[in-house]
């Protein structure tokens, strides 16, 4: 168990912590629990967990503040626990560096799948110059995009967007982040434009652009370029 990954679970609900601990322990993870934001901020630097599960509604402080403080020094993956109809909160979480979210209530299987995906992802995307999902591959060294063995011709902006999504593959990139990153802060509000742009990009890389499988939308939040395991989970 020496090489078991450690996960910090931050939630003020004892019942939730208990079931997360059980679910994670069964899958071979070590679990540290924090019942408050303060405790999380105390435990995170000393225990050096590999991943943090963070509830946004904590008794003592806002989960977003905890995330902000953690991000000042750590890039460990953070999985947000959120409730329905709090899209703005989710957008903020992503913009502060959250890696994924899961909406309460959820089943333990889905939760463990997300945790697994977040932990598996770290070395892959960072090291590999080629990102592949389904029949789509993006060679970032050669700036070449192939679909089903054929090269796809993209405009420079389209390539930039796809590359940005690939660098954050599997994770949600918010509309704001994308506009800001590719077009600059002047256009951070131009949702209309982004919709049309993404539609054109999908027409080039998706098999059926009306039923996208690679670039999917998190409504009200942003886009996500699926990773292979996420695509397979659909089958």
């Amino acid at each position: 168990m020496s090489n078991a990954r450690t996960i910090l679970v931050v939630d003020d609900e004892k019942q939730i912590r208990r079931f997360l601990r059980t679910g994670l322990a069964v899958h071979g993870y070590d679990v540290i629990e924090a019942e408050s934001g303060t405790e999380a901020l105390r435990l995170a630097p000393t225990k050096a967990p590999d991943l943090m599960v963070l509830d946004l509604q904590l008794g003592d402080m806002d989960g977003l503040d905890v995330l902000k403080r953690i991000r000042e020094w750590s890039w460990m993956p953070v999985l947000i626990l959120s409730v329905r109809d709090r899209e703005l909160e989710k957008v903020k979480a992503f913009e502060m560096g959250a890696d994924d979210y899961i909406t309460k209530p959820f089943g333990v299987a889905e939760f463990v799948a997300r945790v697994n995906a977040l932990l598996r992802r770290i070395p892959e995307v960072a090291v590999q110059p080629v990102f592949s999902v389904g029949d789509l591959s993006i060679d970032m060294a050669r700036r070449q995009v192939m679909r089903d063995g054929t090269e796809v011709r993209l405009s420079p902006k389209e390539y930039a967007v796809l590359q940005h999504l690939a660098r954050h593959a599997g994770k949600v990139v918010t509309h704001g982040q994308m506009l800001n990153e590719i077009w600059g802060s002047d256009h951070a509000e131009d949702a209309h434009y982004l919709r049309i742009f993404m539609r054109k990009l999908r027409q080039k890389i998706e098999r059926d652009p009306t039923q996208p499988r690679y670039i999917v939308t998190e409504l009200g939040i942003g886009y996500r370029l699926r990773m292979q395991d996420q695509l397979e989970a659909l089958a």
């Binding site: 329905r84 089943g107 506009l179 209309h192 434009y193 982004l194 919709r195 009306t210 009200g220």
Partner: protein
Amino acid sequence: MGGWRGHKTRRVTMRHIMPYLLTSLALIGAGLAAHVVTSLTAVVAISLFFVPVVLFSALAFGLFPALYAVACTMAIAAFFFYPPIFSLAVHSSVQMVDLAIFTGVAAVVGPLADWARRSARKLKQRETRLHQLYEVGRHLAAVAETAQIPQAIAGQVMRVTGRPCAILLTGSDGAPQVAALAGGASFVGTDLSVAAGLWSSRPAMAPPDGAGSAWQMHAIRHGEQPVGILALHEASAVVEPVFMAALLELIATALERMRLAERSEIARIDAKADQLRDAILSSISHDLRTPLAAILGSASTLEGYGTLCSEAERQELAAAIREEAERLEHFLGRLFDLTRIRAGRLHPVLEPVDLVDVVEAALRRCRPLLAGHESQVELAPSLPLVFSDAILLQQALVNILENAAKYAAPGTIILVGAFHAAHHVELFIRDNGRGMTAEQSRQVFDHFYRATDRAGEPGGSGLGLTISRAFIEACGGSIVAESAGLGQGTTMRIKLPLAESTADGGDEPGSGKHGVAA
């Protein structure tokens, strides 16, 4: 019921003197004629010349001018014709008696005829009025839509009085408000204050002359209760008080009918609301208790007898707990949505939305539910963006898909499509389920409506489609259910407004803002 006459004319002198003047002239004429004729031939009865004058005066002007004519005739005859001439003394009183009888009869017959003529006219007028009242009553009783009663009253009053008129009723603040106006005259603030004065005074009080209102106001009472005011514009033409009283009585009855109809409508709505509340409460308690009972039962079995159960039985109990909890969560989600709608806390964020995103996200959320069906998507590649709230729209779509999955047999196709119609985008969801009757397709969006409530039917809160409609309407869209009939499947048609302009998708945001759809 009091009225007041706006204009009192005083042409008394001329009207009163004229008959005497004319009578005098006629008498002079008759005297001259008698003088000429008697000087030529020996005519005995000069009364022949004067009786027509008296008769004329009586018929034309009534008794008093006629009696005046009689007196003058006697004087003229005594002075000019009966000896001694040029003296009022008379030798033969027989002649004078004859004359007095002839002219006296004439004087009396005249007014009698006049009276007969007048009463005939009065009868005729009364008949007209009665007919008018009957017509008004008939018209007002025939108004089917009670809300139109005040306007009907105004129209009828205008017809029978020939004056523009207004009907005032108590407004929400207790002050009189114009409920109907006929004839084009306008009712201004000062008129309203006059009306308010009339309203508050117990006996119907007429404002004094020159009170600043061109309207003649009549209080309409039902019993002692004032129910409204009838105002006639510049009603100098006299409306007989009796007629007015009868008219007001008719109006009061019609207004009372309206009030009763309104009251019964309110009672009906209240009863319906109570019914709905009861249905909601019983549905909520049923939908909450059933899964809770299953969870509690399964969990306590596991806790108490888990060791005695086989592995398969334990699995089954655990699965039951999970499934029922999911059902509970689903129901609470709907209830939360409904509460949000009812509390008016639905603030849609309207922006350009690609239906591709919404449909994909909705289908993704419904994947476990639709696993038994074949879901198909037919979206035109050139589909324009819609102006909507993506999240509300997705939730609406999820509810509709859940409904379709529930009522369509496993293995059948559920089709989600969209196309560009003239001035909107139509999104549709078609299933090959049990379909519905025309009646059901109208009710399907109502609270807690379920096509069937029999045991063994697919369960559900009956809230899904209600929420879908509320969400779609909040996004400025509309939804209808369509079905060719039972067993013919159902198509939900959602109309969504277009995003006004569509960028051309060039590499710079904002470019081609006014271009055509990409």
